[in-house]
C-alpha cells in the first residue's frame, strides 16, 4: 500500500500493553484519514453511551493521507473522542510536525484505551512504545512540556502532543497542543486529563512511499507556487485577524457576549492594528507554504512579554466579545489559553457570559474572590484586567474558575439552579459548545449550518457562511435553497478535514475554490500518493461519508432532532445596531430550515439516517446499529 502503512497502533493505559491492528486497503478508501478516520476509529472502539471521562472513551488519532509528503498544507492529523462538552463526537484537527513524525513512525492511526493510575506520557519510538512517568511535567504549560520531553529523551527531533495545566485540572474545554498548534474546541485536553495522560510523543525514522513521486512533486510545486500569490496574501500578511474589521463592517462581530454585532473600538482590536503594533513574526505549520500565524507580543504595561499566535476566533472572543478594546489584554488572555492548554474561544465566551451575568446582577463582586483578589472583581464588560484574573482562575480551577471551566451551558445551569435566575438566556452555546465568531443572526444559511453541526456550532465544520457572505444568497432571509446549501457546504468542509488539507489552500489549485475548481486536483493528489483510481465523484463521497459517520456516532449516543438548535439569544433577540440590526433566527424559521436540511441529506423528518443510505455509503455495520 502506498501512502499508508496499513497499521493502527492500540495502546491500553490501564493494562500498559499495546497491540497492532492491520486494516485492509478498502477500509482506507472509505475513511481516508483526518476527522473521518478518527471518528470511524472512535465508532469502532468506544463503549456506546459511556461518560466522556470514562476509561471506555478512547483517544483516536488518524493521520493525514499527505502527511510527510511534498503536498502543501497536508501535514495534519485528526483527533477524536466523545466530547465532554457535547456528549457527541468531538473531532478536531491539528497540524505540523507531530503528524509527520507519526507518519514516519509508520502509524496511520493510534487508539488509546483505558486510563492510567499515575501521570504518564506515552513515547512512540517507531514501533516501540514506552509508558514514561510524567510527574515532573505536571504544571508545565503546553510549549514547555514539549521542550521538557525533548530534554527527557535527549532528542530534539521528538514531537509531542501535550496538555497543559487546564487539561490536568480537567477544564472541560481544555485543548491538546502540538508544535504550537491546537486540537481544540471539543475538550480533548480534559479527556486526556481524565486518563492522567500528559502527552503523546513520537520519534519516526522511516521513509514514506508514494505511488508516483514525480507527479506528486510536480503537482505540489504548482500548488506551492500559487500559494505565494494573491489568493493567500490575506493569510500570509495579516492572518485571519483581518476578519475583525470585515465582520464589524457587516454587523457580524460578536460584541459583549453576542449582544450586538458592531464594536465601537473594532479598529483597536483589528488585524491591521495587530500587524502594526504587536506582530513579531509569522509562523508556518510544517509542510505549509502559506504561513498564516501572526506571532504577536505585548510590548508595554503589566503583561509585557506575553506572546502567542493570534487568530481571529481567539481574538474576537477575548476582545470585542468582552467589550475589551485593549489589544494587550487580548494577547495576554490568548497566551493564558494557549500555554495553559485551553480553548480560547470557549474560555473567552465563558468569561463574557460571566460579565453579562455580573452586569445583570446574577453574579456579584464577591463571587470572584480568590487569594489574589480577596475583595472579588467587578467583572464588567471592558475590564481586561479582571478578565485576565478570571482566565487564570479557570486555568488553575480555583474559585469561580471551577464553574466557568465547565463552559457556558453547565455554568448557567449551575447558577440558575442555585439562584433561580435565567442566565441560560445569555449562555451562548448549542449542544454545549460555544459558537464561532460569526454572528449567525445576520447569516441565515450559517445559522442552519451552526444548528445542525455534529460537534456543535462551528465555522470550521461548515462553510455555510460562504453563500451568505459571498452574496450568493440574501444573508438576512431564508428560502428553500438553504437546506441543500448547508448540506453541500458541510460536506465540502468535511473533504478538507478528512484528507486533511488546510482550507486556506482551496483557491490555489485553479483559482476557483468550488468543487469544479478543487476536486480534479485533489483526485490527482490522492491517486499520485496512493496509486488508486479515484474520480471526481469519489471526492464528494469522502465528504458525505465523513459527515455521516459523525452523525451516526451522535445518533448512537442519543442525538434527537431537538439537539439541533441555536443559543436562546440567537433565536429570540434581534440585534439593535449596525447593518444586521433587526435580524434573528426564530425557532419557527429554524425548524423550517432543519426540514429542508434533513430532506437534502436524504434523512427522515426526525433527522435519522435510513439504512439504505448508510449501506450505499459502504457502512453496513453502521446501518445495522443506527439505521432506520
Amino acid at each position: 500500500m502506498f501512502g499508508y502503512s496499513g497499521k493502527i497502533l492500540h495502546i491500553d493505559l490501564t493494562e500498559r500493553k499495546t497491540w497492532v491492528e492491520e486494516k485492509p486497503e478498502e477500509w482506507y478508501k472509505l475513511w481516508i484519514g483526518g476527522v473521518s478516520m478518527a471518528t470511524r476509529l472512535c465508532w469502532e472502539n468506544i463503549k456506546p453511551g459511556c461518560d466522556a471521562y470514562s476509561p471506555d472513551n478512547p483517544i483516536c488519532f488518524a493521520n493525514g493521507i499527505f502527511a510527510g509528503t511534498p503536498v502543501p498544507v497536508g501535514g495534519k492529523y485528526g483527533l477524536a473522542s466523545k466530547s465532554p462538552m457535547t456528549g457527541f463526537i468531538g473531532d478536531s484537527l491539528s497540524g505540523s510536525w507531530f503528524s509527520i513524525a507519526l507518519k514516519r513512525a509508520t502509524w496511520d492511526g493510534v487508539v488509546i484505551h483505558g486510563a492510567s493510575e499515575d501521570w504518564i506520557y506515552v513515547f512512540i519510538d517507531d514501533d516501540r512504545v514506552e509508558f514514561r512517568n510524567a510527574e515532573s511535567l505536571l504544571g508545565l504549560g503546553t510549549f514547555k512540556t514539549e521542550e521538557a520531553i525533548r530534554d527527557d529523551l535527549a532528542d530534539d527531533q521528538v514531537r509531542s502532543a501535550t496538555i497543559g495545566p487546564a487539561g490536568e485540572n480537567m477544564v472541560r474545554y481544555a485543548n491538546v497542543t502540538n508544535d504550537g498548534r491546537q486540537a481544540g474546541r471539543t475538550g480533548h485536553g480534559s479527556v486526556w486529563g481524565s486518563k492522567k495522560l500528559k502527552a503523546v510523543s513520537v520519534r519516526g525514522t522511516h521513509g514514506i512511499q508514494v505511488a508516483d513521486p514525480a507527479t506528486l512533486n510536480k503537482l505540489s510545486f504548482d500548488i506551492t507556487k500559487a500559494a505565494q500569490g494573491p489568493y493567500t496574501s490575506k493569510y500570509r500578511i495579516l492572518g485571519t485577524s483581518t476578519n475583525v474589521l470585515n465582520m464589524n463592517k457587516l454587523g457580524l462581530l460578536p460584541t459583549r457576549n453576542y449582544q450586538e454585532g458592531v464594536f465601537e473600538d473594532a479598529e483597536k482590536i483589528s488585524g491591521e492594528y495587530l500587524h502594526e503594533n504587536h506582530k513579531v513574526k509569522t509562523i508556518a505549520c510544517a509542510q505549509c507554504p502559506i504561513a498564516c500565524e501572526q506571532m504577536s507580543m505585548v510590548k508595554t504595561g503589566p503583561w509585557t512579554g506575553a506572546m502567542t499566535g493570534i487568530e481571529y476566533e481567539c481574538l474576537f472572543a477575548n476582545s470585542a466579545n468582552l467589550g475589551v478594546s485593549d489589544m494587550n489584554a487580548a494577547i495576554k488572555l490568548i497566551e493564558i489559553a494557549d500555554q495553559g492548554g485551553m480553548d480560547a474561544m470557549s474560555m473567552g465566551i465563558s468569561i463574557s457570559w460571566a460579565m453579562e451575568s455580573f452586569e445583570k446582577g446574577v453574579l456579584k463582586k464577591e463571587d470572584f474572590k480568590s487569594e489574589q483578589h480577596p475583595d472579588g472583581i467587578e467583572l464588567r464588560f471592558g475590564n481586561g484586567e479582571g478578565a485576565v484574573a478570571v482566565a487564570e482562575m479557570i486555568r488553575d480551577q480555583v474559585g469561580i474558575g471551577k464553574m466557568l471551566g465547565q463552559g457556558t451551558k453547565i455554568a448557567s445551569e449551575m447558577i440558575d439552579k442555585e439562584r433561580g435566575t435565567e442566565s441560560y438566556k445569555w449562555a451562548m452555546h448549542s449542544k454545549g459548545l460555544e459558537p464561532a465568531g460569526y454572528e449567525a443572526r445576520g447569516l441565515k444559511t450559517f445559522a442552519l449550518g451552526s444548528a445542525v453541526g455534529t460537534r456543535g456550532p462551528c465555522h470550521n465544520r461548515t462553510a455555510a457562511y460562504d453563500p451568505d457572505i459571498s452574496g450568493e444568497v440574501d444573508r438576512f432571509s431564508v428560502d428553500e435553497t438553504r437546506g441543500e446549501l448547508a448540506k453541500s457546504t458541510e460536506e465540502y468542509a468535511a473533504v478538507y478535514d478528512t484528507l486533511p488539507l488546510c482550507k486556506f489552500i482551496r483557491r490555489c489549485f485553479t483559482g476557483s475554490a468550488d468543487r469544479a475548481g478543487a476536486w480534479p486536483m485533489i483526485v490527482n493528489l490522492i491517486n499520485a500518493t496512493t496509486g488508486w483510481s479515484f474520480e471526481y465523484d469519489d471526492i464528494d463521497l469522502i465528504g458525505e461519508r465523513a459527515h455521516t459517520i459523525k452523525k451516526a456516532f451522535n445518533i448512537r449516543e442519543g442525538w434527537k432532532r431537538e439537539d439541533d438548535t441555536l443559543p436562546y439569544r440567537w433565536m429570540n433577540e434581534p440585534m439593535t445596531k449596525g447593518p444586521s440590526a433587526g435580524h434573528f433566527s426564530s425557532e419557527k424559521e429554524l425548524e423550517y430550515l432543519k426540514d429542508l436540511y434533513y430532506k437534502a441529506k436524504g434523512w427522515t423528518e426526525d433527522g435519522m439516517i435510513p439504512k439504505e443510505k448508510l449501506e450505499s455509503l459502504g457502512m453496513p455495520d453502521v446501518a445495522e446499529q443506527v439505521g432506520v
Partner: protein, 97 residues
C-alpha cells in the same frame, strides 16, 4: 451628466497597499462599480495583481464589495450602479480563524 460621490473604505490588504482607510470617489450618475474599481486601480497601482486583476477593471475573486455593510457583491456583480453617498467597503473573503 451629473456627478455624484461615493466613499470607498479599505480594510486588510487593500488598506495596507493604499495606506488609506477610505477615499471619496467622483462617479457619473449611472456609473457602475466597475468604474470605481478602474478609478482606484488607476490611483493605487499597488492594488493591481493583489486585489484587482491585471485588466484593471475586475476584482480578484478573494475580494468583495459590501454596499453600506448590507448588500454584498462579488466579482461577477460589478455592473451594480452605486447611489450618491454609498459606502463601498472592499472586503477580503472571510474564512477560518
Amino acid at each position: 451628466m451629473n456627478q455624484m460621490h461615493v466613499t470607498v473604505e479599505f480594510t486588510g490588504i487593500s488598506r495596507m497597499l493604499t495606506g488609506k482607510t477610505e477615499i471619496a470617489i467622483p462617479l457619473q450618475q449611472g456609473g457602475r462599480l466597475q468604474d470605481v474599481v478602474q478609478q482606484i486601480g488607476h490611483r493605487f497601482p499597488a492594488l493591481i495583481g493583489e486585489v484587482i486583476n491585471e485588466d484593471g477593471r475586475s476584482m480578484i475573486p478573494t475580494n468583495l464589495f459590501s454596499i453600506n455593510g448590507e448588500q454584498i457583491l462579488h466579482e461577477d456583480q460589478l455592473h451594480y450602479q452605486p447611489k450618491e453617498g454609498d459606502r463601498l467597503i472592499m472586503l477580503s473573503l472571510l474564512a477560518g480563524g
